[in-house]
Amino acid sequence: MSEININFCPFDGYFLGDEDKCSFCGFDRIFAANKNWGSLTNSPTNKREPWRKLLWIKQDYPDNYVDSTFLEELEKNVNVRAYDYWAVLKESCVISQHISSIVIFIAVFIYLYLDMLSAQNLIISGTVFTIIGYIFWDKSISKTDPSYEYKRWKTAKGAVLFFATLLCLSPILKTLTKDTSSDTIWALTVILFLANMLFHDYGSENRTNIKFPGSLSTNAAIFSSVLLASRLPSNSHVFGLMSFAIEWFALFPIFRRYIKSLSVEFNIALTCLLFMLATVLFLNISKTIVILYILGITFITFVCPFWLIWIQKYKNEIHGPWDEARPKITTY
């Protein structure tokens, strides 16, 4: 390309001595001398083409150029939704329900251990409540899923077989951890119930197709029941506690989920019921624990929702084109 000698700035006619840039309008002499003149004279107002966010074109901009469009596609807090205090409070019921159910279970064990509750009573009441619960469940499911009719017999057979096996295994379960000292058993139980509480599936709304909600959590609870069972005096006690544990930790959460889906009022009623049951049962055992329990539940139900809403203002989520896309697949 032939080099053009520029003596005057083409935009304002300013004489260029030996400066590289026009001191009046900032016109770049060197740059212009090497540039295709046609385009420059055609659009004198547009000194440079606007920068484009493309890699395949050569642009008259340095590589570290920062355009005004920089970070234009940045999105902040797109997934954040504002919580309503009462809605969060209602949702917190699932947590207090679960904590109450653990407390009730421990109370039942203590009653058994101290011989304040006979094994027969526990077995009978457990069975009665399970059957009532099952009827409820059956009523609801046969409405949505007609094929369930055929499964009823299978369920009953399964239940009978399961509890029979449990009965046979009771002597083994009783002696399984007998040699372990009581202190170890209590400590382990506490840890396992904590694990049960932490890993419990609180969020799941699905009732019909349960992929065993938080199997880790259920396992922890059953394991701790086995540990506790070894402290009990007779085989019927062990069977009573173990069957109760299964009803309480494996079946009861399903029922609770069902209640929750049914109506908010029922859910709150159930929460209150469990709360009162736990308080009453523990009143005979320890007043301190009752106070701690009431404080804990109050904290979770009333303070934590407020805390969550307050802490929301510190939320800072960044999204942009660099995020890994979530593939949307329709068939399957």
Partner: protein, 453 residues
Amino acid sequence: MRYNIAMVSDFFYPNMGGVESHLYQLSQRLIQRGHKIIIITHSYGNRTGIRYLTNGLKVYYVPHMVIYSEATLPTIYGFFPIFRNIVKREKIDIVHGHQAFSSLCHEAILHSRTMGMKACFTDHSLFGFADASSILTNKLLKFTLSDIDHVICVSHTSKENTVLRAALNPQMVSVIPNAVVASQFKPDPGAQDPNFSKYFNTYIKVTIVVASRLVYRKGMDLLVAAIPRICQMHSKVKFIIGGDGPKRIDLEQMREKYLLHDRVELVGTLMQHEVRNLLTKGHIFLNTSLTEAFCIGIVEAACCGLLVVSTKVGGVPEVLPKHMIIFAKPEEDDLVNAVGRAIEMIRLKEVIPIKFHDEIKEMYSWVNVAERTEKVYDAIWKMRIPPLMERLRRYYGCGLWAGKIFCILIAIDYLIWRFLEWLFPEEDIEIAPAFPYQKYNKMCQMADKDDDD
């Protein structure tokens, strides 16, 4: 100005990938421009010590422990003595680290700054901000990049990402894309499957090529869902899929389920030189990645004259002009539509492979990349080296706890450096003779001439 540059990364040949070829090609072009380049990487199996590659490119394979997919164990100081020795004997001016996953690169940048050298860093990938692993990597990146002269990113999207991740001044970050060796990706109209045409000889048959690692991040779930639908809608379409990975099983199952053995071919792992032969067999290149900083694959495909269909993610929209690429959302339906449009374009013969090749040759060349990288070196060469106090101040700003921890690490690094200076004085380090590139080049030319005669 000619510089002595050390490229540092965990990823180099014999390992295969984008970073590896980037390092090699960039180093070759810089050598041709008169710079002295060495590459420092970790040892691969029994490949330890020093190796020479084409044009006297010297590679140091430093013995180091590998923890996960060729990335080394971060030891912070373990690499310092040998690194100091290497840069002293090679009289290095600038340390250039590559890839955020590479702890070797981070350590090299840290130590080079302690020794008062210039450092720059090239980021090749994108990170999110949500999951635990990226939060950790981002904090580490912030640590190393707190005190650096310049950062290079491969696309504008990658620049935005890096600026946010490491809290950098955007003026400090340059965008220099990757490039292709166009001569290695020439279209070959004769390579398209002749047998396939024989069976359906009504009108033009279309072959769709996929070449990537078969992993989730490359969008294999989308591909698995889209292939049966595309095959159902267009009876004269065939797929060839190159590459290997955990999602291969899903693809095979899909092939079994929809009885597509004659229309979906899985060719398995590809060597670098086999990629071109695969690409030239097709008309359309399909990329279903979920995240991508630059995506060299689509440039290679376009260079071979294929029409590209790609998900619109990361830096992909910046890479190719509109007439070479059809974008789809990362959704099954949209992908099927986009492939449909591409097939229509092929049938109407709107794609001229050799034109694509010529255009790409102009757009992406390593010579251009080297030129632009050289400008970065020129810029950082003029920069002042910050004193220790200033460095500490920069690291201190990294966070409430992190800032203090980083300051401690830097202070220890400084002490180790002083100790090494005392234990192995610089005078005792033997200087390595530079590879006589000019002479070598002249000899090569003479040898070529002899051959011609």
